[in-house]
Structures are given as C-alpha cells and as structure tokens.
C-alpha cells in the first residue's frame, strides 16, 4: 500500500529516474558494442594480444564498481559527469563482449572457413558473410550478460551525479524508507527483464534459423557469468 502511495505521489520523478537510467544504459551499450566488438574482431587471429586484452577485462570486472567510479571521479576532465558514468559501464562490459566475440569467431569449424577461402572469398568477405553471422548467437549471449550487468551497475552511478533509479535506493537506505527501496528495486528489475526480452527478440530476428539450435544448447565458446 505504502509503495503504491509513494508511486502515485512521485510518479513524475520515478519516470524521470527510469528514463535517465535507460538512457545511460543505452549510451553505455552502444559505446560498448562499437568498441568491444571491434576489439574482439581485431584480436581474433592473435591469441597473444587476445590473452592480454581478456586479462585486462577480467581485472576490470573484479574491481568493485564503487571504487571504479571513485577512481574515474578523480581523473581530471572526467569528474562528476555522465562521461564518467558511461566509461564505467563500458569498462565493465569489456570482458563479456570481447571474450564472446573472440571465442565465437575462433570457434567456427575450420572446414567451413577452408571451403569459404577455397571458393575465392576475400578474408574481409569471409568475416562479414560467414564468420560474424555464424558467431552471432554467442556474441548475443555476451551482450545480454553485459546489459544485465549494466542495469545493476548503473544504480551506483548516482555517486558521480547521475539522477537515476539508484537515487531511490541510496536515499531509501539513508532514510530507512522501504517504499523507496522497493520501488527502485522493482523498476530496476523491470528494466533488466525488458532489456533481456528485447535482446531475445532481436536475436530471433537477426540470427539465421539455420544456426538457431546453437542457442538452445550453448556452444563450447559460450561463457556463463553469475551475478553482477
């Protein structure tokens, strides 16, 4: 009841926070996709640099989000800004995206690539017409993990000035207002579920039906993460 009352009274603010939250994630994932998919493609044939990159990714993921934001905050030129918030999200999504792109591209049956080259496809053409379409299910899995993590991590971006659902959580905790906390938590989960649903929809649209069953039983390259 309390929650409903709170919701009715503060709906404009909740809406603003939710939109801010979604917007931050949107920018975060767009930057991550452009950056990390390119990186994954760039290192696909170079296991040495791939190892280094993935090592950096693992390290970043092990840094607690709060301290990462703390570090970003003191970097001159970033400070308390949306840029810092976005950079934080992008850094966190490095491992799941780069790793899945790298593994998916390297997990393709070599005989398929031999056939492609044997028919006279240029390497770039093989990448776009064969490797990437075939890697899509695993890349999608990585993006989904990254997105779900971002929804959670974005709540902590309130410490560097973001006005999003994280506010409801931090204020709620400071003031022991369970209605705020629960409203915030519900909205965050709602975004997570929606994002996941959207990804599922996109995946069904974009991945060829010929390799759909890769999705049902995870291929060897697919990585599972637990928690955020």
């Amino acid at each position: 009841m309390e929650i409903l009352q709170y919701f009715m009274k503060q709906w404009d603010r909740i809406l603003e926070y939710t939109l801010n939250h979604a917007y931050l994630i949107l920018i975060g994932i767009l930057c991550s996709l452009v950056l990390w998919i390119s990186v994954g493609i760039a290192v696909r044939n170079n296991s040495k640099s791939a190892g280094t990159i993935l090592g950096v990714g693992s390290f970043l993921m092990s840094v607690p989000s709060i301290s990462l934001y703390g570090i970003l905050m003191v970097i001159p030129g970033l400070g308390l800004s949306r840029t810092s918030a976005v950079i934080g999200l992008v850094l966190y999504s490095m491992l799941p995206i780069v790793r899945n792109v790298y593994m998916a591209l390297n997990g393709i049956d070599p005989s398929i690539l031999e056939a492609a080259r044997g028919m006279g496809m240029k390497p770039r053409y093989v990448l776009w017409k064969v490797q990437l379409p075939m890697a899509l299910p695993i890349i999608f899995a990585g993006i989904r993990v990254a997105l779900v993590m971002m929804v959670g991590t974005a709540t902590l971006a309130v410490y560097i000035g973001e006005q999003n659902l994280g506010r409801l959580l931090t204020y709620g905790i400071e003031r022991s207002r369970s209605d705020m906390i629960i409203t915030g938590a519900i909205m965050v989960s709602l975004i997570a579920v929606l994002v996941d649903y959207l990804m599922e929809y996109l995946q069904r649209k974009l991945v060829s039906p010929g390799i759909m069953d890769y999705d049902k039983k995870p291929a060897s390259g697919e990585v599972e993460y637990d928690g955020i």
């Binding site: 028919m119 006279g120 075939m134 010929g210």
Partner: protein, 387 residues
Amino acid sequence: MIRLENVVKKYPHMERPAVKNLSMEINKGEICVFVGPSGCGKTTTLKMINLLIRPAGGKIYINGKDVQNQDPDKLRQNIGYVIQQIGLFPHMTVYNNIATVPRLLGWEEKRIKERVDELLDLMGLYPNENRDKYPNALSGGQRQRVGVARAMAADPPIMLMDEPFGAVDPIVRAQLQNEFLRLQEKIKKTICFVTHDIDEAIKMGDKIAIMRSGELIQFDTPENILFAPANPFVEEFVGFDRALKVLNLLDVRTVMKKKLVTTNKNDSWEGVTQKFKEHRSSFLVVTDDRVRILGYVNRQEMETHTDRRWQERIRSFSTTLPLNATLKDALAEMLQHDVAVIPIVNDDNELTGIVSMEDLRSYIGEAYEDEENDDNPVIMVTGRRGA
C-alpha cells in the same frame, strides 16, 4: 590442362618435404585420383593447385598459365572445391550456399536462380523442396550433393575434390560415386580427386597417381596400375586381390567373343547339324529373326535325338548380361548359376557376343603371365591373408 613441374612443399617443422619434385600432367576432361597412405602429400598437392597452400618451389600451370602469378581469389572462383567435411555454411539456405561463387562473380539474381535449380535437379534434389532448407535439415548424402552443386555453381572447368565421399556411410558413398560418374560423362570436367581408398581410386579414376612420402610412385591408368604395379609398394597398396579388382574395372566387351556361330530358329535340322559339323563348338546359340536370344542347342542332344524336331530341345540361358556389365558381374553370374558361358545382349536385347569362363581365365592369366614367369615369390610370402 593442369601441369605440375618439380613442385616442392616444405613445412618448417618437418624434416622431409611434404611434396618432393612432383611433376605430372592432368589431361582435360579426366578424373585424376591422388591416392596414398596418410601423410603422403596428396592433399597438399591438391591444395597447391588452388593456392590454398603456396608451393615452395616448382611451377603449376593451368591451361599454360602459371597459377602463382594469378590473384588467388580469382583463381579459386574458377576452380570448384569440395572437401570431406563439405563446409556448407550453416547459416545460409541451400540456395544461398550454391549461389556463393556466382555472387562473387557478380551474376544477376535471375541467372543464379536458374542455375541453382538446374544444379539441384542434376543432383537429384527437388528444387522446390530443398532450395530454402538450411543444411542442418539435410541428410549426410544430401549435404554432400549440395557441396558438389556449390562447387559446380559457376561451371568451373576444373574441380578439386578432397575425399568428397569420405564422411558418408558405404551405401550412400557408392550411390554418390555412381551418380558422380554418370554426371561426369555429361559435364566432362577436369577433376583432381584425393582419396586414401584404393578401391575408390580404381572406380573413379581415369588416371591414378599413387603417392608415398611426398613422391609420385606411379601415375597411370587403373588398368596399368593393377596389371603392372611399378614396385612392391604399389603392389601391396593395391592389395593382393588386384586380379579381382581388375574384374571390377573391365567390362565384358574386353573378353567378349563377337564372332559367334548362331542358328536361326527357322533353320532346318540339316542346317543345324551342318553347323555342328563345321564348328567344334559344343553348343549353338539360337536366335529369332531379330537376333534376339531364344536359347541354345547342345551338340550331344542333337547327336542323340535325330527326330528333326530340334526346336523342342532349345534350352534357355539362365541369365544374360548387358554390354556395360563388368567382368566381376560376369564371374558372379557364372558362379551363381553354375554356367560356363553367358550371352551378352545390347539395349535392344539383341545378341552381341558371349563371355565364357575360359576367356575370362585366359585374359587375366595372360595379363599376369610375365609376373609368373619371373617366378616372383613376393606375393605368396608376404601375403596378408594370415594377418
């Protein structure tokens, strides 16, 4: 068509070269089968022809042009390539798989569609049923057919096939081999075919190149390889049952007797007895006016029964064989029906000749005569039968 001159391939981590000074020439419209134990360099040789592997030395010419001076992608678009794992693109439909090379060559979509349907038809796959399927919905044999169709899409004059029928079960393999041989009669491509199976090599090859440790040991027709193996290695490789393999390779025309004493069913008794007097043969084949076989009459019966109604004593042959039957078929029929002669008929069921056990034995015997005169005990001593 394809000429290799002193081709060499060395791999950095290996002591001996994978291919040593290989020189050979493959004629237009022929199937040349590379065969040998694993690691003999047959696949390496094949892949050097379309530059998937760069030769370390020597020259490879296709129609007189050095392949190494050509753009590898352009070169490969004009050479069909089929591999054992097939390598169909799982995310593309059968249609798009087959359309791959035509698209690289910039064909119009209408022409591509016609070509795809034509190829599916040729491969015995109904276009309407299979065009839009994905490879995971096809059986192993169907995938292999699509793989061959894809390689032939742009009608390349040359095809390279690396154990193309290796991944399917023996029954489907035999089917695919037969289909492919029938197809080849029509399309007359120049084909380089790699296999480790000598039986497949004998069946498919116009020429066989036997390789060992990167060297060409013998390059010849299947007949010559079976009749005159160059050395003990080839002899052992083709197997100790090569006389039987020869039977499978040759058709009945090689030993068939065409000059036959026949008699017409309307001949008089005197006429028939006269023929028996003139010829030593123990029987006469009886035909009707259109040279179709009715049966035979036996000398002994003609001599014992002198009642002139010889037509009543015509016995029918238990079996006949068509002209394209192999000697193995003939031998099998002889053993099965316990007969010593089999008449050969053409498509119109007309008598064209006769094959006897005697002819068969003497033909094979003559072919191997030299060997026996050499008093060469190798075969008996190292025979694998006990192993």
